[in-house]
Symmetry: C2
Subunit: 155 residues, 2 copies
DNA sequence: ACTGAAAATGCCAGACC
DNA sequence: GGTCTGGCATTTTCAGT
């Protein structure tokens, strides 16, 4: 079961719900040139098969009090998987951490952290990150602005 | 107009629509202990004031044929803003580029690129990125897996 | 087997309290 | 902030291709 099983109508549906998850079935079916019920069936199948993993509101982080993002590169001391799991558990518990990727190479993690200001960020570093056992080094980069905000690649 | 003007019910609403953008007003109002119409009013206000910027489906990039992500760090030759705009325009046009941030420092961009495989990634580098005028250097890092996938910070 | 149509259920928006 | 009603969307079932 892969991308091949999607026809052009399925892709059109995905494109539309990517842009607006709250489209009514009527609007959606009209846009993809189908009547409501086959359109509803296709949507349900796309959900069941996992092409659509969910529908989420997107919030304005700045308006909510977190206008600053910081990218943090974390290197763990070379130990076994226990450390990785402990680190990942901590990261998942911190609300400041929005995204986290395990990178190839030397036990490297890349994090995006959202904070109110640099004072809060310093607190995050000193009171949170450096307290996680096994953290060997930390490097921070501050973005100026977001140039492109994508949700998912579709074509 | 800032985050202060949100009370605990507003925050509860944001938390719920963040998790599921397709909740019906009935379900939503039940979860935040409100009756449907004041709940609808609050949602509308949150949308109008920009706390909620949109509702989007989240798709499974791997299932759609793009299982590999690559982080690309791009440095531009030091020139004026024309180059930045040209680069950003190009990045916005490339479907492979999901996210792009302009970083502080030396004309640095950080990109996340989604590709089918490393062959396609090489094509992206040679036929796309290196063709953009002003690109001085490119560094790629490959993640193994996504540890945390956040949508927005809320608390 | 997949598409289109129709009926019944349930949801939403507005005026009003 | 809560209640109610008219109108519409959704969903399920059923028939057609």
């Amino acid at each position: 079961m892969s991308a091949d099983s999607l026809d052009s109508i399925d892709r059109a549906i995905l494109r539309e719900v990517l842009r607006d998850a709250r489209l009514t079935l009527q609007e959606l079916s009209g846009r993809v040139n189908l009547s409501p019920s086959p359109c509803a069936r296709r949507v349900r199948i796309l959900e069941e098969r996992g092409y659509i993993s969910g529908y989420h509101a997107h919030l304005d982080e700045a308006k909510l009090g977190y206008p600053f993002s910081v990218f943090v590169s974390v290197k763990l001391a070379h130990q076994v998987d226990d450390r990785l799991q402990a680190f990942e558990q901590a990261v998942n518990a911190y609300p400041e951490v929005i995204d986290c990727w395990l990178m190839t190479g030397t036990r490297d993690y890349l994090l995006r952290v959202a904070v109110a200001d640099l004072v809060e960020f310093e607190g995050f570093l000193t009171r949170r990150l450096t307290k996680v056992p096994g953290v060997a080094s930390i490097e921070s980069s501050i973005p100026i602005r977001r140039v492109k905000k994508g949700f998912s690649r579709l074509d």
